[in-house]
């Protein structure tokens, strides 16, 4: 369980409405996205009555099902299935938003005020089918409204050594059940079968993202992880007429030799490896496993090499925004955190590396489960800052835009 709601929290920070007024040039839709991802959502019975499991993508919600995530009217997704308040009804220090029904419309509500209408994500047609191996296809390939994604490895080997998992991560501990199992890694034959179904759905997808837990084994560190990505991408590639197809790998930071193989042996068009924290000392504390195997400066060097291979605008890196303020070793103020974030962001962008941040949502099963996230003001300033730095260095955001991901508020700003 995460921490209980602080009953006084609204008195301690500027409200959503105050932030809208404070930043009149920042899209209200993006501010909504950020705050809902920060605080999570719960559903009224009326809102759950609007869910149709035959159409919508759903997750268990008490004895019913809730939408996996939401869309706003402008096409921005609010990814809430990482927000565990949806599925497990845990809370993280602030009240979540409420999804309700008003005048027969599904609406997002906070503090008795309607924010806007929301739309439930729809599932692709392959979700209800199984592979010839008997695996539900949705366990092989996951979907967002306009992209599909898959996890090449369900277990992260940074968790092999006690205390080396990333401290904000709730997936690492949950992934332990897959360790050493036959389905720890994705089966390329099953991917091919899902691809045959994906082909039937015109107008649905604009890209594919591959990610997964780190695999440290191999002749060189992460060679086995590289092979897993190559195998999966080649299986996906069987569906395309062209060698290259809109795609992204988000992996452990691979070496130059490995990146060249990844680019040359597959149809991959873009590459991400997340630094997670833009400060070396805090990186070592929050992501000890990463730091033990690949230093902060080596991680950056590998990003710069990736730009040489994939091209400017085809490589980015992200942070779990807010963990740099975790106690006791994080920054003490939001001001200090933003200063450090922007300094590193400038350095990365000056080498052609794109920037993104994922709003930290404190999740159960993570080492940081008792922490509190920063204010909405911090998140809007960070979003605006990353966007402006990307603009300054002329780095395209298309590889990770609102259609291909939608989690990254700073990239979602780049639509006007």
């Amino acid at each position: 369980m995460a921490v209980e709601v602080d009953k006084e929290w609204r008195k301690k920070e500027e409200s959503y409405w105050e932030i809208l007024k404070k930043y009149p040039t920042v899209s209200p839709f993006i501010i909504t996205q950020i705050d809902v991802q920060r605080r999570g959502v719960v559903y009224t019975d009326a809102a759950l009555d609007k869910v149709d499991a035959k159409i919508h993508q759903v997750d268990p919600y008490k004895d019913r099902v809730a939408p996996s995530s939401l869309l706003l009217r402008d096409g921005t997704s609010i990814i809430t299935h990482f927000t565990f308040s949806t599925s497990k009804k845990t809370l993280n220090s602030r009240e979540p938003y409420i999804v309700d029904v008003a005048d027969d419309k599904i609406v997002l509500v906070d503090d008795d005020r309607i924010i806007d209408e929301v739309i439930y994500w729809e599932k692709p047609k392959f979700y209800d089918k199984k592979t010839s191996f008997g695996t539900p296809m949705q366990e092989v390939v996951d979907a967002r409204p306009q992209r599909f994604s898959l996890s090449v490895s369900k277990y992260c080997h940074f968790w092999d050594k006690p205390g080396e998992g990333c401290k904000y991560c709730g997936i690492g501990a949950a992934g332990a059940k897959y360790k050493g199992c036959a389905n720890e890694r994705v089966n390329p034959e099953e991917i091919k079968e899902v691809m045959k179904e994906i082909l039937k759905e015109k107008g649905r997808f604009t890209g594919v993202v591959l990610t997964g837990g780190s695999i440290l084994s191999g002749d060189e560190l992460c060679d086995d992880e590289l092979d897993a990505y190559i195998g999966a991408l080649q299986a996906i590639g069987t569906a395309f007429k062209t060698k290259k197809f809109p795609s992204q790998v988000n992996s452990t930071a691979l070496s130059e030799r490995q990146l060249i193989r990844l680019y040359e042996e597959t149809g991959l068009t873009s590459y991400t490896t997340d630094l997670e924290v833009f400060n070396e000392e805090i990186f070592k504390w929050v992501c000890p496993g990463k730091a033990a195997h690949i230093s902060f400066s080596e991680w950056k060097k590998r990003l710069y090499q990736a730009v040489e291979i994939f091209g400017k605008g085809q490589v980015n890196t992200g942070i779990v925004s807010g963990v740099e303020l975790a106690t006791p070793y994080g920054f003490k103020t939001e001001e200090e955190a933003l200063k450090a974030d922007f300094e590193t962001a400038e350095e990365l962008a000056s080498h052609g590396v794109g920037l993104k941040h994922d709003v930290w949502n404190v999740v159960p099963n993570s080492i940081f489960f008792k922490q509190t996230t920063p204010s909405l003001d911090y998140y809007v300033r960070l979003t605006k800052g990353f966007y402006e730095i990307m603009q300054k260095y002329g780095i395209s955001t298309e590889m990770d835009n609102y259609r291909k991901c939608s989690m990254h508020a700073s990239i979602n700003l780049d639509r006007i």
Binding site: R73, K202, G203, I416
Partner: protein
């Protein structure tokens, strides 16, 4: 929800020979106008504008309009020369889901398989005015009787009496 519109507007929107021009302002305050390849009127009274290019300036300006509550203008020019200005507000950028996918397939049937439908913009109609010259002139004479060059009301000659 949009206001009631006349049968005449319905007809001109449905007529494939109608030329539609969509105009919207962007973040720098500049307007952009683009001839719409496909525009339909939906049962709920909203206009659906089909944007084929994700990177077009009009797409960016429509996003700007939905984000900041700006009005846009759709000019409809009929084959008979009649033209109308529809002032609207983008209500939704429809980019996913079974309704979008059905429109995507219909669009490809109509315009060919290479067509890539980016977004169906659902637009609330705020007001409609007819801008056909004769109608607009009559309206101006009625509503602004003193906006004109005076020669229109000069006598042919001034009597010496």
């Amino acid at each position: 929800m949009s206001l009631d519109i006349t049968e005449e507007i319905e007809k001109i929107i449905d007529d494939k020979e109608t030329v539609s021009v969509i105009s919207a302002v962007g973040k720098n305050g500049n307007p952009v106008s683009q001839v719409g390849k496909k525009l339909t009127l939906w049962e709920d009274g909203r206009i659906a504008y089909y944007e084929f290019l994700e990177s077009s300036q009009l797409q960016k300006n429509l996003v700007y309009s939905i984000w900041f509550g700006k009005e846009i203008i759709i000019s409809l020019i009929g084959k008979d020369g009649k033209n109308y200005s529809v002032v609207g507000k983008p209500y939704q950028a429809l980019i996913a889901g079974h309704v979008f996918e059905a429109e995507y397939e219909k669009t490809q049937e109509e315009f060919g398989e290479k067509t890539d439908l980016s977004t169906v913009w659902l637009i609330d109609i705020v007001r409609v005015t007819e801008d056909t010259y004769e109608v607009a002139k009559e309206r101006e004479e009625k509503e602004h009787p003193y906006l004109m060059h005076m020669d229109h009301i000069y006598k042919e000659e001034i009597s010496d009496e």
